[in-house]
């Protein structure tokens, strides 16, 4: 990024709350507040936390048969996504790698898409070039705020009763303190919660209304990362990228049966072959047995010393109370319970392949 980092509509609130600001994907974002990453993480697991995720790209798609056209770019069943429902998906490339992951919502008269901050500049031209007859409009005048945690329904529902009626992966438009917002019951923490698209002029005022609730505190990108890692959720650029296929990334659950059978998306040949025969490597949970965190890039070896893969995300899990990691290992070594060594600063540290997530997901289904 050569330009000065951009600021979200909540920038002044971050500064007022004592946020420690860092450059993230070209955006000036709070990595943490005075509470600290551990405290903010636990706040989200136990009560509720508010995150600014306005750096992500919000996009409106309008036209005929948008869901069907999206199916030409993604291996998800968007044609049958019902109004008021949201679905996780990804753009694949011609080699079957993942270009970006995204959330698509059927908003009735349009589709609402949220893409990663760093890939807005790729994804929007990609949709404009390939979704024939679809008007692709990036939204620049709305904040995106996530309220996550077991108290999120109380925090948001006390201001917006309609939010209580939503189930996991449902979306609606409702007023919060007189302002029309898009409210979706989903997130990136493994907890129940919402992502709320708010007109920028009202974003700080409404965020403060959420924060006025006794159970809600602000949380930064640091806690967001440790929360998603414990929840076993992929981070684009770390765990998935242009070279990794959805089968390798253990994202088979995110491709619906009809799409897996019919194909008709970029890279379908590789992905269908891997679905049938298995992929050579697989994304798994890895639990170091000691206290040393295993960071991105750490080599994974068999107990005999053969290299079988590498860590793609690794940190300390505040809820787990120890280090947690994800990474790719050769499929023959990917079974839960397999003992491995992690080469941390030249020394072999024992670890075990484990089932994801590290912390039980707590969604309102």
């Amino acid at each position: 990024m050569t330009d000065a980092p951009k600021r979200t509509p909540l920038y002044d609130l971050h500064v007022e709350l004592g946020g420690k600001m860092v450059d993230f994907a070209g955006w000036e974002m709070p990595v943490q507040y005075p509470m600290g990453i551990m405290g903010e993480h636990k706040q989200c697991r136990e009560k509720a936390a508010l995150f600014d995720v306005s750096h992500m790209g919000q996009v409106i798609l309008r036209g005929d048969n948008v869901g069907e056209k999206l199916e030409t770019l993604c291996p998800q069943a968007f044609a049958t996504l019902k109004e008021g429902k949201a679905r996780y998906g990804f753009f694949t490339n011609d080699d079957g790698g993942i270009m970006d992951d995204l959330i698509v919502s059927n908003a009735g008269d349009h589709y609402f898409v949220v893409v990663n901050a760093a890939l807005r500049h790729q994804d929007i031209p990609h949709m404009q070039a390939n979704l024939d007859g679809v008007e692709v409009t990036e939204i620049f005048d709305r904040a995106l705020v996530a309220v996550q945690g077991p108290s999120a329904e109380e925090v948001v529902g006390s201001l917006c009763p309609a939010a209580r009626e939503l189930k996991f992966m449902e979306t609606t438009v409702a007023e919060i303190d007189g302002v029309e917002c898009r409210i979706s019951r989903l997130g990136y923490t493994g907890e129940d919660g919402y992502e709320i698209s708010i007109p920028e002029a009202d974003a700080i005022r409404i965020s403060k209304l959420f924060l006025a609730h006794d159970d809600c505190e602000p949380a930064g990108l640091g806690a967001r990362d440790s929360l998603r890692l414990e929840a076993g959720l992929c981070l684009y650029g770390n765990d998935i990228d242009q070279s990794t296929s959805p089968v390798e990334a253990s994202l088979g659950w995110a491709m619906q049966k009809r799409r897996k059978e019919e194909g008709g998306f970029p890279g379908a040949a590789r992905i269908q072959k891997e679905l049938a025969e298995g992929a050579a490597k697989k994304l798994v949970g890895i639990k170091p047995e000691g206290r040393a965190p295993a960071r991105q890039g750490v080599e994974v070896q068999t107990l005999e010393g053969d290299s079988i893969g590498a860590i793609t995300s690794g940190s300390f899990g505040p809820t787990v109370g120890g280090p947690v990691a994800m990474g790719y290992v050769a499929t023959e070594h990917s079974a839960a319970g397999t003992k491995v060594n992690l080469i941390i600063r030249g020394k072999a540290q024992p670890a075990e392949i484990v089932a994801l997530p590290f912390v039980t997901q707590n969604y309102k289904r």
Binding site: R291, P293, R295
Partner: protein, 121 residues
């Protein structure tokens, strides 16, 4: 007992030929919450600038560099069970090593408190 500071945000207090080493409050604030400290063992010898340990916070790993030539004579083993002590009292009880100083003339290359305050602004 004199206290010196390094550009790597370490403090050492010197009594005779033994230095006690820790990290400064500024370093602790920058690191965030410490979750793991990797330490050398007593008897390990090192030279100024060598990596003599690693401090891991939730977000990142940071190396500890030797501020002078010496030998580890004692390791604060309490940090293994309570690495967070480096956040609570980095310049109080949470020392990392006691070091036998090999070359006392290297102390002159370190900063005093005023010099360190000027460094961190």
């Amino acid at each position: 007992m004199a206290t010196y500071y390094s550009e790597e945000h370490e403090w050492i207090t010197v009594e005779g030929d033994v230095a006690t080493l820790g990290i400064t409050q500024h370093a602790a604030d920058q690191l965030g919450e410490v979750v793991f400290v990797e330490q050398r063992e007593a008897g390990d010898e090192f030279e100024k600038g060598d990596e003599i340990g690693v401090i891991e916070s939730v977000k990142a790993a940071s190396e500890i560099y030797a501020p002078l030539n010496g030998e580890v004579v004692e390791v604060n083993e309490a940090l293994a069970d309570n690495p967070g002590a480096l956040n609570e009292a980095p310049e109080g009880g949470a020392w990392i090593y006691k070091i036998k100083i090999a070359d006392a003339s290297q102390l002159e290359e370190l900063m005093d408190l005023d010099g360190y305050k000027a460094l961190i602004g």
